[in-house]
Amino acid sequence: MALTRRISGLLPPVSTASSSSSFLHRRAFSTDDTTTITVETSVPFTSHNCEPPSRSIDTTPKELMKFFTDMALMRRMEIAADSLYKSKLIRGFCHLYDGQEAVSIGMEAAITKKDCIITAYRDHCLFLGRGGTLLESFAELMGRQAGCSNGKGGSMHFYKKDACFFGGHGIVGAQVPLGCGLAFAQKYRKEDHVTFAMYGDGAANQGQLFEALNMAALWDLPAILVCENNHYGMGTAEWRAAKSPAYYKRGDYVPGLKVDGMDAFAVKQACKFAKEHVLKNGPIILEMDTYRYHGHSMSDPGSTYRTRDEISGVRQERDPIERIRKLILAHDLATEKELKDIEKQARKEVDEAIAQAKESPMPDEPELFTNVYRKGYGVESFGTDRKEVRAALP
């Protein structure tokens, strides 16, 4: 059974809590959530068919520290996954999110766990943001029982239903109609919740996206389409794939907002704005201008279609964690050493989670035949040699 852990908004400052799977574990620099700090987004929002929100955002020391800690953990997780893949403990596909952390973090700060998120295959950090644990993540990547899908899904199929995280999808673009379906259900049930359907600049040209967007607009579904524009659809730059790479405008009659996706506060403000908007007016598109440091996947060096200068340039100018670090230092919320210690702690948590995940066994062989159906009626299923291996589906 996969571990689940509910996340509460407030954790008491603790230093002895088990570090293996605690996502919110952090040192007690500042639990101050009463002091208001006003930050400005890096750039103003650009809007399409709507009034953009203000670029001034209020935050607290606590939130700033949380952003830093959580993003540091996400970054560390993805880098560790890179090593695990190279040592062949992770197989198949592995699409890493480092560089894009601010999108997950900013979004989570603006929404609840009853709002739904659905995404494609670059899903490890979004899973963590929804409350998934490091152990569930690494164990799933390594195909072990403690994984969030008991080892049967793999990198592209992380889910956390109790936190309304619906995956984890391998077919480019499919998650967008699915996300509009989640929004349909929320509206059907008259909930005050919304769905964030995330997709990349590559998927932005998919026909089914426009089919779903049309219906979402027709029926006023609370669907927020979030284009994580990291400027490359695998090896194809956006200008080679899209006649119009202004993805926030591609909804035509559907309003859109272009957001600096490397700025967690811009993301937070945009998601808050979007949530309020769709509950009244139907769908909206958010284009997050972001960047991935790794290639498309672990099979892609990521340097044949873009220059190393470009990558290091973004890292220097726009890294989401560095941005928060500067803010924290500027507002004197912690020292450089304290921030480095947080990063060390993240590394420690990740290492411990990996060690624990390695201990988790691979699924037992009968698991080959479980979960084919929710209700199998004892129907017969077959292994490769049906005279050798048969099973009754539970």
């Binding site: 889910y159 109609p177 699915l178 089914q208 049309n214």
Partner: protein, 378 residues
């Protein structure tokens, strides 16, 4: 071989009653003159059977909703959803634009969240536009998530040929969907099948592909009080022996069940007593019933309208060869659609889909009776 000793020839036995957990009804199209059931039995068209099943399930569970092209204001392209919009409103009977990939995906997403969508494809030919959602988003999700995300959705609509609608509107998708683990694929024939299987499908927690037949919609079948009851469900994965027999097993589904029954009547006159199995379910396939029947009759003819290669008959043949080889007295015969895209011209179309005489001929061939019967046994 074993079976030879048990082979009987000739002897008109007439139709025998159904047995063994199957309903005690002989199902005949309304044109038949014979009716030997109680006078209280009603008749119902397949269309009304589907409509009533949808109505009852929507009344019973507010999470059930219908979505598709023309299902609402138009009352359904084939009137299957007639009256539902007035009764349940536009939030639960949702007319869509002509965007199958989009609305099938929306349906699956709604099912992820716990609703119970019934998605109508105007015909299953159009389901190809949405097939990624049926297979990758719906069928595989419960497995990939280790049981955490089940998808209680039904995809329904007419399947297979109608009459003169040409190559792009005549394909049978039983073989394609039937091969996918994680899907359930149902193929009703009679009104009883339509009601019972659709209600089961809607109540089922897994994705169900429900293959109807346009030409059967208008056909009437007798329905008992039990069938009309709102709790009536048929088990998924169980075939029905429509007609018991001793000499040859004929498997069929959907419209071909009617053809097989007619073929059986013709064969009876020639001394061949055929057992007709109405599959009702392509996945799970009721191998037990099929094999038990073949072990009894020792001969098998499979009938389907779809393309022959990699079709339903191929799977049934393999199953019987694997599990009941010693009981076969003759090679398995397959009657299927012709291996061509469907032509329009009436004479060519007739050649493209199984006719009753094809089933009769194959049954005789499998009984080593290609020539008319003379005297005694073989």
């Amino acid at each position: 071989m074993l079976g030879i000793l048990r082979q009987k020839v000739g002897g008109a036995t007439g139709l025998s009653s159904q047995g063994l957990g199957n309903h005690m009804l002989r199902l005949r199209p309304v044109t038949s003159a014979l009716r030997n059931y109680s006078s209280a039995t009603k008749e119902m068209t397949v269309r009304d059977a589907l409509n009533s099943a949808l109505d009852e399930e929507m009344a019973a569970d507010p999470n059930v909703f219908v979505m598709g092209e023309e299902v609402g204001e138009y009352q359904g392209a084939y009137k299957i959803t007639k009256g539902l919009l007035d009764k349940y409103g536009p939030e639960r009977v949702v007319d869509t634009p002509i965007t199958e990939a989009g609305f099938a995906g929306i349906g699956v997403g709604a099912a992820y969240h716990g609703l119970r969508p019934v998605i109508e494809f105007m015909t299953f030919n159009f389901s190809m536009q949405a097939i990624d959602h049926i297979i990758n988003s719906a069928a595989k999700s419960n497995y990939m998530s280790a049981g955490k995300i089940n998808v209680p959705i039904v995809f329904r609509g007419p399947n297979g040929p109608a009459a003169g609608v040409g190559a792009q509107h005549s394909q049978c998708y039983g073989g394609w969907y039937g091969s996918v683990p994680g899907l359930k694929v149902l193929v009703p024939y009679s009104s009883e099948d339509a009601r019972g299987l659709l209600k089961s499908a809607i109540r089922d927690p897994d994705p169900v592909v429900f293959l109807e037949n346009e030409l059967l919609y208008g056909e009437s079948f007798p329905v008992s009080a039990e069938v009309l009851d709102s709790s009536f469900c048929l088990p998924i994965g169980k075939a029905k022996i429509e007609r018991e027999g001793k000499d040859v097993t004929i498997t069929a589904f959907s419209k071909m069940v009617g053809y097989a029954l007619k073929a059986a009547e013709i064969l009876e006159k020639e001394g061949i007593n055929a057992e007709v199995i109405n599959l009702r379910s392509i996945r799970p396939l009721d191998r037990a019933t099929i094999n038990a029947s073949v072990r009894k009759t020792n001969r098998l003819v499979t009938v389907e309208e779809g393309f022959p290669q990699h079709g339903i008959g191929a799977e049934i043949c393999a199953s019987v060869v694997e599990d009941s080889f010693g009981y076969l007295d003759a090679p398995v015969e397959r009657i299927a659609g012709a291996d061509v895209p469907t032509p329009y011209a009436a004479n060519l179309e007739r050649m493209a889909f199984p006719q009753i005489e094809d089933i009769v001929r194959a049954a005789k061939r499998v009984c080593y009776r290609s020539a008319p019967i003379s005297a005694t046994a073989s």
